[in-house]
C-alpha cells in the first residue's frame, strides 16, 4: 500500500464522517477498461464538416464512419461499402453499402443518409467541390445502393471518399446531414465504433466516448482508417490539458494513459520513466512554412521571394522547433511529404547546399527593395509559429530588410492574414504556419500549394505553371503519370516561390506501458488499443 492510498483512506474516513457522502468504489477492472487520453488541442465543437480543426476530425473518426478509409499504404479501402462499380466511360459510380450497418440511435444506415451526408461534405471539401462542379446527380437507388453520375470522369473519386484530411466524408443520419454545411449540427449520432457521451461533455476539458456494442467491424486487419475497427476498451476519456508540464506530470503519475503530442522539451523526462513509452506519433509529420504576400512589395517580385529562399537555413528553423533531437527533422527541398510515393525534389536546388547570403542580398536589391518595412505576423501563443517567427526576423535582418515584427496571437494572425489591403493599412507581408504531412502527399487536400491568384490560400500566389501541373496530377491515370506531374508541380512552385517551406519535422507521442496497440499514423487511432490494470 503506498502513501497516497494510506492518506486517501485516512482522509476519506474523515470526509465520510463529515459529509455522509461516500466515494464510489472504482474496481481495478473498470479503470483498466477506461483509456484516458490527452489530445493535442481542445475539442471545442463537434461538427467535423462545419469546423475542420484536426482535433475535431480525430474525435469524429471515433463516432462517424466513412464509406472508404485510407490505409497505411495511403490506399483507399472499402469501409462502409460492400462493393462499387464504375461505368466504362468513368462517369457513373454505383455504390452498395455493407449490410447490417446501424447508427447509434438504433436506426439502419440507408442510402438516403449517405446522399445527404455526401452533399453536406462536398459543399465544404476542396475535392468535394470539384465533384459538385461536374456532378449530374447523386441519388439513392434503393436502401443500400446509391449512384453518383458525373458529367466527366473523376479518377480520384475513391481517394476523395477515403481521405483523412479534414473534412472527411463522415456519414450521418439524413435528418442531421441536412443541416446547412455552414451551420453547426447539434446531434452527434454516427455509426462509428464509439458513441459520444454528450451528457458528460465539458467543452474545453473533457469528452467521453463509449463503445458502440452494435458496431460490426470489417474482417480485415485494421490499418489507419481502414479495416476492422475493434474497440478493446469500454470508454475513452479525452482530458484537455493546456499546460504541457501538467500533462507530462499526469502521465508520469498514471493519471492519464496516453498523451498525443508531448512537447520536445519534456520528452527526455518522459523517456527516463520506466513506465512510459515514447515514439514518433505520425510518420507523415509536418511541413513548416512561411508565406509571403504576393500582392505587395517587396514580395510581389519573384526575385525578392527567391532571395529569401536562397538565404534561409531550414536547419535553423527546425532546431528552433524541435531542439537538438536530429531524429525529429529533415531538410525539405520541396513541398511534398517525404517518404511518400509521390515525393519529389525536382527543382529543389535553391533550398539545398550552403546558404548564400551575399547572392541573396544582390538578388533582393535587383528586385527593387529599398528598405520599406516588411510586416511579419507571428502568433506567439503557438510554439511552432513563434519559433519560426524568431528565425525569420533574424533572417530578414541579415538580408538587410526592415522588419516590422508583429507579435500577436493566432486569433489575430488568422483574421489579419485574410486582409488584402497593403501592409501599412492593416495588411501584411508574411506570416508563419505549418501543414500536416498527411495533407501534403498530393495536391488533393493541399490548399497551401494552390497558386490560382485570388482563389489561392493567403498570400494569393499566381503561378499558372503550378496550376497547370496540379491539373495534370488530377487527370493522371497511373502512378508514373502522378509522379511525373508532382515533380513538375514541385519545380514550378519553387520557381515561383508559392511559399517558403522551412523543413519537415516529426513529433512524439507518449503512453503508459500498460497500454498496447498504439499505431503510428496521421491521427490517433483507438481501435486495437487495450489497457491492462
Amino acid at each position: 500500500m503506498d502513501r497516497r492510498t494510506v492518506l486517501k483512506g485516512l482522509a476519506g474516513a474523515g470526509g465520510l464522517a463529515l459529509t455522509g457522502l461516500s466515494a464510489p468504489a472504482i474496481a481495478q477492472g473498470a479503470a483498466a477498461r477506461t483509456l484516458r487520453f490527452v489530445p493535442q488541442a481542445n475539442l471545442a465543437n463537434f461538427d467535423p464538416i462545419w469546423g475542420t480543426q484536426y482535433v475535431v476530425r480525430n474525435a469524429a473518426a471515433l463516432v462517424w464512419d466513412t464509406l472508404y478509409g485510407i490505409d497505411a499504404q495511403l490506399q483507399p479501402q472499402r469501409q462502409m461499402i460492400e462493393s462499387e462499380e464504375t461505368s466504362d466511360d468513368g462517369k457513373i459510380w454505383t455504390f452498395k453499402l455493407r449490410p447490417g450497418l446501424k447508427f447509434h440511435d438504433g436506426e439502419p444506415v440507408l442510402s438516403k443518409d449517405v446522399v445527404a451526408s455526401l452533399s453536406r461534405w462536398a459543399a465544404r471539401d476542396p475535392m468535394g467541390l470539384m465533384i459538385i462542379a461536374i456532378q449530374q446527380e447523386l441519388t439513392a437507388v434503393d436502401d443500400r445502393t446509391f449512384k453518383w453520375v458525373l458529367k466527366q470522369p473523376f479518377p480520384k473519386m475513391l481517394y476523395a471518399l477515403a481521405k483523412n484530411n479534414a473534412p472527411c466524408s463522415f456519414i450521418m443520419p439524413e435528418r442531421i446531414a441536412k443541416t446547412d454545411p455552414f451551420k453547426q449540427i447539434t446531434e452527434y449520432v454516427g455509426s462509428g465504433p464509439m458513441k459520444f457521451a454528450k451528457s458528460e461533455w465539458v467543452p474545453g476539458a473533457k469528452s467521453v466516448f463509449e463503445k458502440f456494442a452494435d458496431y460490426v467491424p470489417r474482417q480485415e486487419k485494421a490499418s489507419w482508417l481502414a479495416g476492422g475497427k475493434q474497440i478493446l476498451v469500454d470508454r475513452v476519456e479525452w482530458l484537455v490539458m493546456p499546460d504541457p508540464a501538467t500533462a507530462a506530470a499526469a502521465l508520469q503519475n498514471g493519471e492519464v494513459d496516453w498523451w498525443e503530442n508531448p512537447i520536445a522539451d519534456l520528452v527526455p523526462v518522459l523517456k527516463k520513466n520506466k513506465n512510459i513509452s515514447v515514439d514518433i506519433g505520425d510518420p507523415l509529420g509536418n511541413i513548416g512554412s512561411f508565406r509571403m504576400n504576393h500582392l505587395f512589395a517587396p514580395f510581389n517580385d519573384v526575385r525578392a521571394r527567391r532571395a529569401v529562399l536562397m538565404a534561409l537555413s531550414q536547419e535553423d528553423y527546425m532546431r528552433a522547433i524541435v531542439g537538438d533531437d536530429d531524429k525529429l527533422w529533415k531538410p525539405l527541398p520541396g513541398f511534398f511529404t517525404p517518404d511518400t510515393p509521390l515525393y519529389s525534389e525536382l527543382g529543389g536546388e535553391i533550398l539545398k547546399g550552403k546558404r548564400d547570403l551575399d547572392a541573396a542580398k544582390k538578388l533582393l536589391a535587383e528586385s527593387g527593395y529599398s528598405g520599406q518595412p516588411v510586416t511579419c505576423l507571428v502568433a506567439q501563443d503557438q510554439p511552432i509559429t513563434k519559433a519560426q517567427g524568431d528565425v525569420t526576423a533574424d533572417l530578414l535582418k541579415q538580408l538587410g530588410m526592415n522588419v516590422d515584427f508583429v507579435a500577436t496571437d493566432w486569433g489575430t494572425v488568422g483574421s489579419r492574414r485574410a486582409a488584402k489591403t497593403p501592409p501599412g493599412q492593416g495588411g501584411w507581408n508574411m506570416f508563419h504556419s505549418w501543414h500536416a504531412g498527411a495533407d501534403c502527399i498530393t495536391p488533393a487536400a493541399y490548399t497551401a500549394i494552390r497558386a490560382n491568384g485570388d482563389k489561392a490560400w493567403f498570400g494569393w500566389p499566381n503561378s499558372p505553371n503550378t496550376e497547370k501541373e496540379i491539373t495534370a496530377w488530377f487527370e493522371a491515370k497511373s502512378l508514373d503519370e502522378e509522379k511525373a506531374a508532382i515533380g513538375r508541380v514541385n519545380k514550378a512552385a519553387l520557381d515561383d516561390v508559392v511559399y517558403a517551406p522551412t523543413g519537415f519535422f516529426l513529433t512524439y507521442t507518449a503512453w503508459r506501458k500498460n497500454v498496447s496497440g498504439i499505431a503510428k499514423g496521421p491521427l490517433p487511432f483507438f481501435w486495437g488499443v487495450s489497457k491492462s490494470a
Binding site: 482522509a11 466515494a23 467543452p203 506530470a249 501563443d381
Partner: protein
C-alpha cells in the same frame, strides 16, 4: 438594513450595463475573428465569410449589441459560437470547480493567515514575528504557477500523495473532491495568506496599543482572550476588507491555477473563450464576474455592521 441592501442591488444595474457596453465594444474592436478559428487553416476566405454570416458576425455593431442586450434582458446569455451550447449552461458546468477552489482557498487563508497575523502582532519584533513576515514576503513574491509546479513535483510526482490535475465533483465523495483541490488551493492561497497575514498584523498592532486593551490586561484577562476576543474583533474591519478585495485576486489567480492543475473551471473557460474569440462566452463571464464583485462589496458592507456596531447605513 434591508432597504440598504435593496438600494445597493438596484445600484448594480447601471454598473452592469456600463460593463456590458464596455466589454461588447472592446470585443468588437479587438482584432481576431472566431470564424477564422472555426473554419480551420485550410478554409478558403469564402468559407470564412459564410461562417461569419451564419454566426451573425457580419451585422453592424448596433444591431449585434441591441440583440445581445435584448437577450440579456430576457435572461438569456446567448449561445457559444463554438460549442453551440447555451452560455449559461457552460458557465454552470464550470462554476462548481471554481467555487470549490475559491472556497477551499478562502478557508485555508482564514485558518492560516489570521492566526499568523495575530501571533506576529503579539510577538512583534521577535524572531517569530520576523519569521512570519519573511514567510509572507516569500509567499507574496512567488508567482502562482511557480508554487504550483513546485507543489505538484513534490507532493504528486515525488511523494505520490496527491493527484497532479483534474477535478472531481463533491457528489462523488469528499476525499476525491478534496484531494484534487489541496495543491491548487495551497498554490493559489500563498499570495492571499501573505496579504491577509500582513494586514491582520498591522491592524492588530494598532488595536493592541489602545487603552481598552491595557485595561483588559490590568483586569487580569488572559492573553488568548485579549487577542482573539477584544483585539481581533476590533481589528476585523480592515481584515474583512482585504479578504473581500482578495476575492478579486482569487478570480485572477484561478485563471492560472486552473490551467496549471487542469481544473475545468471558469478561469480556463475564460482563457479558452478569449483565445477563440467566443464573444458570447466572454461577455457572459465578464457579466458574472462584475456581478460577483458588486455582491462581494455588498457583503463586506453588511459584515462591517456586524463586527462594528458603530457603522450604520
Amino acid at each position: 438594513m434591508l432597504s440598504f441592501i435593496l438600494r445597493r442591488i438596484v445600484a448594480t444595474l447601471p454598473v452592469m450595463a456600463i460593463v456590458a457596453l464596455f466589454v461588447f465594444s472592446l470585443l468588437y474592436i479587438a482584432p481576431g475573428d472566431p470564424a477564422v478559428v472555426i473554419a480551420g487553416d485550410q478554409a478558403s476566405p469564402e468559407d470564412v465569410e459564410r461562417i461569419r454570416q451564419s454566426l451573425g458576425l457580419d451585422r453592424p455593431f448596433l444591431i449585434q449589441f441591441g440583440s445581445w442586450v435584448w437577450r440579456i434582458l430576457h435572461g438569456d446569455l446567448g449561445t457559444s459560437i463554438f460549442t453551440n451550447l447555451p452560455v449559461s449552461a457552460m458557465i454552470g458546468q464550470r462554476l462548481g470547480p471554481t467555487l470549490s477552489l475559491m472556497m477551499v482557498t478562502l478557508l485555508l487563508t482564514i485558518v492560516v493567515a489570521v492566526p499568523l497575523g495575530v501571533v506576529a502582532a503579539w510577538k512583534a519584533g521577535s524572531l517569530i514575528d520576523r519569521a512570519i513576515m519573511a514567510f509572507a514576503v516569500f509567499g507574496f513574491s512567488l508567482p502562482v504557477f511557480v508554487v504550483g509546479y513546485m507543489l505538484a513535483y513534490i507532493f504528486a510526482l515525488e511523494l505520490e500523495w496527491l493527484p497532479v490535475q483534474g477535478y472531481t465533483p463533491l457528489n462523488q465523495g469528499f476525499w476525491p473532491w478534496l484531494e484534487n483541490l489541496i495543491l491548487p488551493s495551497v498554490a493559489l492561497g500563498c499570495v492571499y495568506i501573505a496579504l491577509v497575514a500582513r494586514i491582520t498584523r498591522a491592524a492588530m498592532l494598532e488595536v493592541l496599543q489602545q487603552d481598552y486593551i491595557r485595561t483588559a490586561r490590568a483586569k487580569g484577562l488572559g492573553q488568548g482572550g485579549i487577542l482573539f476576543i477584544h483585539a481581533l474583533k476590533n481589528a476585523a474591519v480592515p481584515i474583512v476588507t482585504v479578504i473581500g478585495i482578495g476575492i478579486a485576486l482569487l478570480i485572477g489567480g484561478a485563471v492560472v491555477t486552473e490551467s496549471v492543475f487542469a481544473i475545468p473551471g471558469l478561469g480556463r473557460l475564460t482563457i479558452d473563450a478569449i483565445l477563440r474569440r467566443d464573444y458570447p462566452v466572454i461577455q457572459g463571464i465578464v457579466l458574472l464576474f462584475s456581478f460577483v464583485y458588486v455582491l462581494v462589496n455588498l457583503m463586506i458592507d453588511v459584515i462591517y455592521t456586524l463586527v462594528d456596531p458603530r457603522i450604520r447605513y
